[in-house]
């Protein structure tokens, strides 16, 4: 059996407005990796993540998750694959005016029937699991707080708990710390690291700050103008590579 959890081949994405966001991106992800994708805004990082779980449909190319082609599947097959891939977002995307517990429980929607979920009927195991995940991300006691009243870092931790509720094999993180302050950023990244190391969930994460990349990534790929221009260890990114990725005039900003 292959150890690759994800194989992306020659992925292209052209948006209806003509933007060519991805121009033939290929890479593999090994089980258990913490793979970080870097690149400028507009380099195609977000599009890449969204093509993997089909929030966006790729224009051509192939994405294989656990050796199953995902670019062509539809309906319940697609939902099945999505349920195995958790996702967290820059703006957390929690459901406003709902409690932390309800938000975490939405992670089980794919396994709960439509009628039951509409009436808020979840199994006892699901509730217990949700509570334990809330504890895992350090939010015990907050399960009945409204999610939109929490701080940014806390909201992102709720989002992590929601993603873990899916029992994901892989986690997509789209700039998970871009709207957080440095200290909170580290805290959220620590939780992602914990998820990666202790629960063995493979992580694909878009990041801006190279200092975070060096600290948390086990491998890095870099996108520029929709093309993959670097693949390697985070320690190998030097001045020269930095300027290739971010442009001649860029100066590295650190976060610690």
């Amino acid at each position: 059996m292959s150890t690759n959890i994800l194989e992306v081949k020659d992925l292209q994405k052209v948006y209806p407005n003509g933007t060519h966001a991805l121009r033939g991106v290929s890479f593999d992800v090994v089980k258990g990796e913490f793979l970080v994708i870097i690149g400028l805004s507009g380099s195609g990082k977000s599009t890449l993540l969204r093509c993997i779980n089909r929030l966006h449909d790729p224009s051509s190319g192939s994405v294989k998750f656990n050796e199953e082609e995902v670019t062509t599947i539809k309906g319940s097959d697609l939902r099945q694959v999505r349920s195995k891939i958790g996702m967290i977002f820059q703006h957390f995307n929690l459901i406003p005016r709902k409690t932390v517990l309800t938000n975490v429980l939405t992670g089980t929607l794919s396994k709960t029937s439509v009628t039951k979920s509409i009436f808020g009927i979840y199994s006892e195991e699901d509730r217990a699991k949700a509570l334990s995940l809330i504890e895992l991300v350090g939010l015990s006691g907050k399960e009945n707080h409204r999610a939109d009243n929490l701080s940014g870092g806390q909201q992102q931790r709720v989002a992590i708990a929601r993603a873990l509720m899916q029992n994901p094999k892989m986690l997509l993180a789209d700039e998970p710390v871009a709207s957080l302050d440095p200290a909170t950023s580290h805290s959220v990244m620590q939780y992602l690291k914990k998820v990666n190391e202790e629960l063995g969930v493979t992580i694909l994460c878009n990041l801006h700050f190279l200092s975070l990349v060096r600290q948390y990534a086990t491998r890095v790929i870099a996108l520029k103008g929709g093309e993959l221009i670097y693949e390697g260890s985070p320690k190998e990114i030097d001045e020269e590579w930095f300027r290739t990725i971010y442009g001649e005039e860029a100066v590295e900003v650190t976060i610690d």
């Binding site: 779980n53 999505r82 958790g86 996702m87 977002f89 995307n93 939405t106 929607l109 439509v114």
Partner: protein, 360 residues
């Protein structure tokens, strides 16, 4: 970076050189001129000449008149088409306009000013505006009689008036309540962001939008007349009329609210592998509940006001009562009803705005 400055003319004024585009523009420009000159010659003849100069009381109308006017318009247009007095050519950008002159000073605008003044004069004539009637002795006495009666309301009918008012409020409430579930469902189908994913849903979207626009453009007053024949004069007819109109208006407001929600929760729910219905229930509904509530309360407020008007054509409630007393020229009673209506409208307006402000 290109250093050559692009042409600064606005796009619709740029000279178009492609053959088909140009000839189609010339035809459109000529049509605009013919219509404008046709209109000018028709109303000049009908109103300025026949009414004002000849002072004809009943000027006859035949279909040959507008046709002749169009003919005259065509002749004038053809004569003036190549000059700077052509509005059509100016608006289609078929000749260069001096950039330093304001639009208001261009030669073709003189025809524009002439048409506006002409329309104003014709409008006064058609609306039969007459200062003599407004200030006539007999008219003023009549008005004084009604006003004195209105300001001496007859409180003897306060009881039936309040009952009728309560009928109106309940009627408006039921109309709002019944239209709610229909509007709720239609709102999703009329929301572009939810429906533009596949050709089928987009076709449904267009169909629903078309229905909403058509049914909204028919006034509830007209519906009330239809329903008072159908189910008989009374609150039920008025309620049905309000219902129909409320469904379309609420569905439109609801759908616009859905179009304004943030995509984030929808993306997040889709990413968990949720069913599309679950995506809507968890990703869309929590974002729209409060605005919906606010719209619905406002709609009730509007419906109370509309129910009063609808009553005038037999929709029941206080409006029907007002119409009956007005028909009997019992102005003291009408005065009381006007006061009751004013108070109700004020209370509804005040409380609905208070409630809406508190659930923001």
């Amino acid at each position: 970076m290109s250093t050559i400055k692009e042409t600064t003319l606005p796009k619709h004024l740029q000279y178009k050189e492609t053959g088909f585009k140009k000839s189609s523009n010339v035809i459109q420009a000529l049509s605009i001129d013919i219509l404008l000159w046709g209109y000018t010659s028709l109303v000049t003849y009908k109103v300025i000449y026949q009414k004002l100069i000849m002072n004809m009381r009943h000027a006859d109308f035949t279909w040959s008149q507008p046709l002749a006017a169009l003919g005259v318009g065509a002749i004038i247009s053809l004569i003036l088409f190549m000059t700077k007095f052509s509005i059509g050519r100016a608006s289609k950008g078929l000749y260069e306009i001096d950039e330093n002159e304001t639009y208001m000073k261009q030669p073709f605008m003189f025809l524009g000013y002439f048409i506006i003044i002409l329309t104003f004069v014709v409008g006064l004539q058609v609306s039969q505006v007459s200062m003599r009637e407004f200030l006539s002795e007999a008219g003023l006495t009549g008005a004084r009689r009604i006003f004195t009666a209105l300001f001496q309301p007859n409180f003897a009918i306060i009881e039936p008036a309040l009952f009728a008012a309560v009928e109106t409020i309940y009627m408006a409430f039921i109309a709002t309540a019944i239209s709610l579930p229909f509007a709720f469902l239609l709102g999703f189908f009329a929301a572009r962001n939810l429906m533009s994913n596949s050709p089928l849903t987009f076709a449904i979207y267009n169909l629903v939008r078309f229905y909403l626009n058509i049914s909204r453009s028919i006034e509830p007053l007209v519906w009330a007349i239809i329903f008072s024949v159908w189910v008989g004069i009374g609150p039920f007819a008025g309620m049905l009329a309000l219902c129909l109109h409320s469904i379309s208006s609420l569905a439109k407001l609801y759908s616009e609210q859905i179009e304004n929600i943030s995509d984030g929760p929808i993306e997040a729910m889709t990413a968990t592998g949720a069913h599309p219905i679950q995506v809507i229930w968890f990703g869309v509904v929590p974002q729209i509940v409060l605005p919906y509530l606010s719209f619905t309360i406002y709609r009730w407020d509007i419906n109370v006001r509309m129910a009063t008007i609808i009553g005038l054509v037999g929709g029941g409630g206080i409006g029907t009562m007002l119409m009956q007393y007005q028909g009997l020229a019992k102005w003291n009673e009408v005065g009381l009803l006007v006061i009751v209506i004013a108070i109700i409208v004020w209370i509804m307006d005040y409380s609905s705005s208070k409630i809406r402000a508190s659930i923001k």
